[in-house]
């Protein structure tokens, strides 16, 4: 864990956080897309979680969870989910992976593996508990399909970010301590 990230705030932390927010917002808009594979409808419902996983490391430590919470609420309102469901999932996911406290940028394979395990863990646990608490039958097959789609799309999003990184604020190039 990078304690410097917590102790020394980056001068552009606010802009970096907004950059992460914009990227997640784009993913939320795309999450409404579906396609058919065989007889099954595949949905990009959890696409924004890739953006949360790849959230810029030097973001503002207090503002980031607030932004993620609001983005989750926005996703619920746009997608017609139960209000609060996505924000809950996003925040638990954010809390588990702590993208703003990473020491170094993650390499592709490690990132993919970590993302796959954490998305499965968070979604299964949260959905199971939510289903129990609010007494709703969950379609587990649909959930697995959505997780599968998110995991499959992750490499494309990771590559896209790597390509566009030079046009984004890249704190790794900033001599900051």
């Amino acid at each position: 864990m990078n304690t410097n990230l917590l102790l020394n705030r980056h001068p552009e932390a606010l802009q970096i956080s907004l950059q992460g927010m914009l990227f997640t917002l784009v993913m939320i808009v795309f999450s409404g897309l579906t396609f058919k594979l065989g007889h099954h409808i595949m949905a990009f419902t959890w696409l924004p979680m890739t953006a949360i996983f790849l959230w810029p490391r030097w973001s503002h430590p207090y503002l980031t969870p607030v932004l993620i919470g609001f983005l989750g609420l926005l996703a619920d309102l746009i997608m017609g989910h139960l209000v609060g469901m996505s924000s809950l999932v996003y925040l638990i996911f954010f809390w588990l992976i702590k993208p703003t406290e990473r020491e170094n940028r993650l390499g592709f394979w490690r990132a993919w593996l970590e993302f796959s395990f954490s998305i499965i863990f968070v979604l299964l646990i949260t959905t199971f508990l939510l289903g129990r608490i609010i007494d709703i039958d969950v379609n587990w097959m649909d959930l697995w399909r959505q997780i599968f789609v998110a995991i499959c799309v992750f490499p494309a999003i990771y590559t896209l970010l790597a390509v566009f990184r030079r046009w984004l604020i890249d704190p790794d190039d900033v001599n900051y301590q």
């Binding site: 579906t34 209000v83 379609n139 649909d142």
Partner: protein, 303 residues
């Protein structure tokens, strides 16, 4: 040096604590909102309508190349099947022409009988329909709904049934200016009055968040048989009578399900501007009085 380290450590702990408190507060807020929206989703409707309308246009634009590519791919595949499709459709067309003649004859017969008996049974399914495009689909795990690219401006109202080419998919639950939200039949909150087309046996179709909604509130389980065609009964006064839904699949004595009519990936759908049956108390609220006239002009406006 030690003091500096301790101060650094304390700052670190304090910052971590603040971050945790922020996250926990939002988690509590989210859980509370889930309970509120589960008990009364209508509270969020105005915000949802605004956001759906705003994001709908954006989603529609993003969807354009994707749908274009999908239809291009579909057209390319279809080209290979043109000959066999043409042959099959010609046969189907001839058969449908026979049905059309019979349907016209039956309608004339029904009109005749109605005029003799002086009754108005009414043909529930409206002839007009609004063709709209699906711009996004919310596919679980808790909610199953779709967003259409037309709302109040296109004449869509809450409660209107929505069909794809072969069956009912759900009904309108929210209408914005340019978008409308459809609750799919398989959603947990969906309740539709249905009946067997052949026997008229009635029940309520309850969404179970899977592909086969469950039948409930029926008289006798033995009356339901595999393969019976299920249509809307119109008893709820919200949906018209006779819209096709699916076929009975009897899993056990207490668990009768309906296999929904299979659909392709939702793209174009029809919204039927069906006028729901209002209760007398509701129509009273819509009575308007003309000011210029001394007589009461009971001009009932149903909307």
């Amino acid at each position: 040096m030690v003091r500096a380290d301790r101060r650094r450590h304390e700052r670190l702990i304090r910052r971590r604590l603040i971050t945790r408190v922020i996250i926990l507060s939002f988690i509590v807020l989210s859980v509370s909102l889930i309970f509120i929206s589960r008990s009364n989703d209508a509270r969020f409707s105005p915000i949802r309508n605004g956001l759906e309308s705003a994001s709908g246009t954006l989603i529609h634009i993003i969807n354009m190349p994707i749908k274009g590519m999908r239809s291009f791919g579909g057209n390319f595949t279809n080209l290979r099947q043109v000959h066999s499709d043409n042959k099959r459709l010609k046969g189907e067309n001839a058969e449908l022409r026979q049905y059309k003649f019979r349907s016209r004859a039956l309608k004339a017969k029904l009109d005749n009988l109605e005029s003799i008996l002086n009754v108005e049974s009414g043909l529930d399914i409206p002839e007009d329909r609004i063709t709209l495009r699906v711009i996004s689909e919310s596919n679980g795990p808790f909610a199953y709904s779709v967003l259409l690219n037309g709302g109040q401006s296109a004449g869509v109202k809450v409660g209107h049934p929505v069909m794809h080419e072969s069956g009912l998919i759900g009904h309108v639950i929210r209408v914005g200016k340019r978008t409308s939200r459809i609750l799919l039949l398989k959603d947990l909150n969906s309740r539709v009055s249905v009946m067997v087309l052949e026997t008229g046996e009635k029940a309520v179709l309850i969404g179970k968040n899977d592909d086969a909604p469950q039948l409930a509130f029926y008289d006798n389980a033995s009356n339901w048989k595999d393969g019976q065609e299920i249509v809307t009964s119109g008893d709820d006064g919200i949906l018209p009578r006779g819209l096709p839904i699916g076929y009975v699949v009897k899993l056990s004595k207490s668990d009768v399900r309906v296999a929904l009519i299979p659909r392709r990936n939702l793209d174009w759908v029809w919204v039927y501007p069906y006028m729901p049956i209002l209760e007398p108390e509701e129509t009273q609220n819509h009575v308007s009085f003309t000011k210029d006239s001394n007589d009461l002009d009971e001009n009932i406006q149903v909307d």
